[in-house]
Symmetry: C2
Subunit: 317 residues, 2 copies
């Protein structure tokens, strides 16, 4: 049953093995906030999506650039997604090929969603647009779907018919959104790439009208924390060896490409940031495969040893 | 830096090595709820504490008694604390000798407390009464301090002068409390011994008036989950090998005595139980030693690899 990193077996394991089936998107920085602000404000009035930013280079941060964090935040960020090798690997993940149904955690996420009919939705890190299209199909009035990757947005646009969906390039680390412009915010596996989560949730809170929901998933911090994430055998048991869980900050791993940078925060820190921004926590789910999934994929049994995904639902009162 | 279970070094490590410095108290069951209910209702009118239950035997559950859980809940529970060997070991823990100041997490807990002056406090699993006396010293109007252990309550009573504090035998697994009888609820390291946490938090919620706080600590589920909790060396790193985190239910460990039964719930399950009962989550802290503590106890550095304690503050709106 042991499935080490790089020892893929099965769709879910392929994601597990490669680092989590992320749809998250790191964020190149250094754009003037004012510029983004103006652009965001104009979204509502644009009739078609267009790339409004200059093409950006795929940046791979040298380790030293990650500390101190303030330097990193003010300087630049990582857009690994537009690297050809990464994009190719990402495009072949089950969730990239099969969409939401290809994501093991989707049914659990779906159970947390409000009725989307008539909603004004913002999707933070939309990737290929699977959720944006789902929201439109569910009757959302509008979906603003943001991502850092030009490549992903190009495919998302090509595959989307609905006029309710608008795709935009955006850097979640410097994001600005119009105040009270949405009544549902969503994100799938993007926020663990964000250096300044506190700032981001304040922006999201201000962008939501009272009574709105905010549902997102991230890599579980227990999955992200270790210096070398992967299964090990200890005294005949398959275990997930944890170190550094309480040491927050960047983690550099190799996932589809070398040197992917993620930001480890404890579960408590993530929840407290939401609470401090004014959200009320509604549900916290450390995801595990369902009985039906385990029956269909007995090799996923190993996933019961530690959670890979964290699902959070909260409300802006 | 490696400190395995049973390789104590320093006060905190002595607790870590022995299982967590618990002040929690398992609960012998089989008492009619109605009896307890009547007794609880009468608390407010009694002028002095007295042992109102028959002496109970220290019960050590056979493994098979633990499943199914409903059987266990309706049958009996574990009061290991009144076993002579356990009580002696427990009494020698730093937190038992030095009180709150001997508990590494105390300053973090204290930061979560409301102003206690004038409050009607219930302390669930009071042990030797350190917190109850603290609350009285802070001006609490009344403190109902509950524990399962006759031995602990005897010492607590002997060491308490304040007339504001009342000690009572209680089984948290069958607890009944008067509705809206308190405006602050507290518990230190007791709830991981509770089989039916959902029930308990509903009882606590109903016992609090609107606007009340509820602050408690438990062993962190990451600490409790593994089939064999303890440090290991993997590829030259000191790690905490996690297995079975997503498999909730009883965990039997040896801590001061053999066969101590605790109930593992994921962090998400704990939070969702509070939310379902009507609480609003205010703060979730996966405790770690402070910089000052690490400077004073460099051997605690290893504790940064995984949290031992979970601190939760919530509000009954």
């Amino acid at each position: 049953m042991r499935t080490g990193l790089g020892e893929a077996s099965g769709d879910f394991e392929a994601e597990a093995a490669s680092g989590a089936g992320d749809e998250g998107h790191a964020a190149p920085l250094g754009k003037p906030v004012q510029y983004r602000h103006r652009r965001f404000l104009s979204w509502r009035y644009r009739t078609e999506a267009e790339p409004s930013c200059q093409p950006r280079r795929a940046l791979l941060l040298p380790e030293k650039a990650l500390c101190p964090r303030t330097e990193r935040i003010s300087a630049m960020a990582q857009n690994i997604y537009d690297q050809p090798a990464f994009f190719e690997g990402y495009s072949s993940l089950p969730r990239s090929v099969h969409g939401l149904a290809g994501a093991a955690e989707w049914e659990s996420v779906r159970a947390l969603l409000p009725d989307l009919a008539g909603r004004h939705v913002v999707d933070l890190g939309c990737g290929f647009g699977w959720f944006a299209r789902h929201a439109a199909a569910e009757g959302a009035e509008s979906v603003l779907a943001l991502d850092l990757s030009e490549n992903m947005l190009a495919r998302a646009r090509a595959e989307t018919q609905s006029l309710a969906v608008r795709y935009e390039i955006a850097d979640l680390d410097t994001l600005e959104l119009p105040a009270a412009g949405f009544d549902f915010a969503y994100s799938s596996l993007a926020f663990h790439y964000i250096a300044d989560f506190d700032r981001l949730v304040r922006i999201v809170h201000a962008a939501l009208v009272p009574g709105s929901s905010f549902v997102f998933t991230i890599e579980h911090p227990l999955y992200m924390a270790p210096s070398r994430p992967g299964w090990a055998e200890v005294d005949g048991r398959t275990v997930w060896p944890v170190d550094g869980y309480l040491v927050e900050g960047p983690r550099t791993t190799d996932w589809l490409a070398k040197g992917v940078v993620k930001y480890h925060r404890t579960l408590g820190t993530t929840l407290n940031a939401l609470i401090a921004a004014g959200f009320v926590i509604r549900h916290v789910e450390e995801w595990k495969p369902s009985e039906a999934q385990l029956a269909a994929h007995p090799e996923w049994q190993v996933e019961l040893n530690r959670p890979m995904f964290l699902l959070i639902a909260c409300e802006r009162p």
